[in-house]
Homo-oligomer: 252 residues x 2
């Protein structure tokens, strides 16, 4: 069940230190993950802190199920989750992967539209939707940040649609890897050629609209072409960034 007692996280230390209990240790996530630090005053951050609950989520756990009322919004501080939709006949779509820094709660529906499943031991910050609503009304800055974020996600969703509609398997995979790399880069502050894949091949397939076999073959192909290396199953090393970008039609 893994409550990883690690000290490796390197958040920027805030003036209010975490105190180790659930209700307190999440100031960082509020600041970091809603990206509101520049927009919120000290009072406002305190208000956020009051209603934020940091929760560990073990790998394999389902945080929410499609159709359930959306009682909470979340920000993710550790680990990785997937957003899954399953059709009646078993066809599966992974709409996206939720990584540290991501906000879960931008939806027009008051019910969950996806299963939210932890694919690694994770930690999320939980805020009741009702309180989030109050908070948004109280702090226009917050609403502005959320709108900005929603617009960015909209752009990303549209890029994804292009990939699904018109790109070939190798192009899709290249696009996917580059996006992952970009996310890791912004998250860590530094760019690296190594990208970790917390998700399995099947998840990648269901995200890219392919089968697991095709994903596997495509990995092999990219490896044989010298674009990437696979030092471990879940680690990709990007060998030829430029070529990969060209393959992914990265002209934007």
């Amino acid at each position: 069940m893994s409550r990883p007692a690690q000290g490796t996280e390197q958040y920027p230390v805030s003036s209010v230190a975490p105190e180790g209990n659930g209700g307190r240790e999440c100031l960082q996530c509020s600041v970091r993950h809603l990206s509101v630090c520049s927009a919120l005053s000290c009072d406002e951050v305190h208000a956020l802190e009051q209603i934020t609950v940091s929760t560990p989520v073990a790998m394999g756990t389902t945080l929410a199920r499609a159709g359930e009322p959306r009682a909470y919004v979340y920000t993710v501080t550790e680990g990785a989750l997937r957003l899954v939709r399953t059709l009646a006949d078993g066809r599966r779509q992974v709409n996206g992967f939720v990584l540290p820094g991501d906000y879960l709660g931008l939806s027009g529906s008051d019910h969950h539209r996806y299963d939210i499943e932890a694919i690694a031991d994770s930690r999320v910050c939980r805020v009741p939707t009702t309180q989030m609503r109050d908070l948004r009304q109280r702090y226009p800055h917050l609403e502005r940040k959320l709108l900005q974020r929603a617009c960015q996600e909209l752009d990303a969703a549209q890029d994804n649609a292009l990939a699904l509609a018109r790109l070939q398997p190798p192009e899709r995979l290249a696009d996917f890897l580059l996006r992952l790399a970009a996310r890791e880069a912004t998250l860590n502050g530094r760019s690296s050629n190594r990208v970790s894949l917390p998700m399995g091949r099947g998840d990648i397939a269901d995200h890219l609209g392919l089968t697991m076999e095709t994903v596997s073959r495509t990995f092999t192909k990219l490896r044989q072409q010298g674009l990437i290396a696979l030092p471990h199953l879940n680690v990709v090393e990007i060998l030829d960034f430029a070529e990969l970008q060209q393959l992914a039609n990265d002209e934007f």
Copy 2:
């Protein structure tokens, strides 16, 4: 060129009547198309009105091109437009169709990400992005409405991604037709079995990630199955709503 001098539009009449010039005749679109009538005060509506310019856009005209700076946001009051992205090798994606009531301007980028092309003689209301920014800051209601709209579009974009990733051609087309029908229904206030298709087969194909031939064949198939009829090329009559919904995996 077509400046359709028609009197068929049936907007709810507001207290400030249109005066026929460009700067004035767009109160309706502000009210109707940003869906802010319930949120804005009279003063606020006047402020919107001041900076709104209604413009005719002839069929075939390109309103904006991908890569250009986003100088304006738009609301559409008449006609239909398409959002198009074209890859270097000619592959095309139609990200969506913009119909009366839609808002064009939710993007995290300060450059256009799509070509915006009129597929019918249209009319749009134009607001400079700078002024829109001011307005949003002044009226939190407006920002709230925009966030809500962004969330709805996000949901729609994700539904679309599911269709592209996992649905078969007949399912995709069924989904597409039902969505069009739903939009027309909310727009007209009444539901109808007749859906008009302002876009050509090629546009539908590039929207659904198929070829024009497959779209055509799929129309035929649905017609032969008795789910739809095609009284004209650009009009679909939905004969079996329930069956069509089931085909589209409309369980949401």
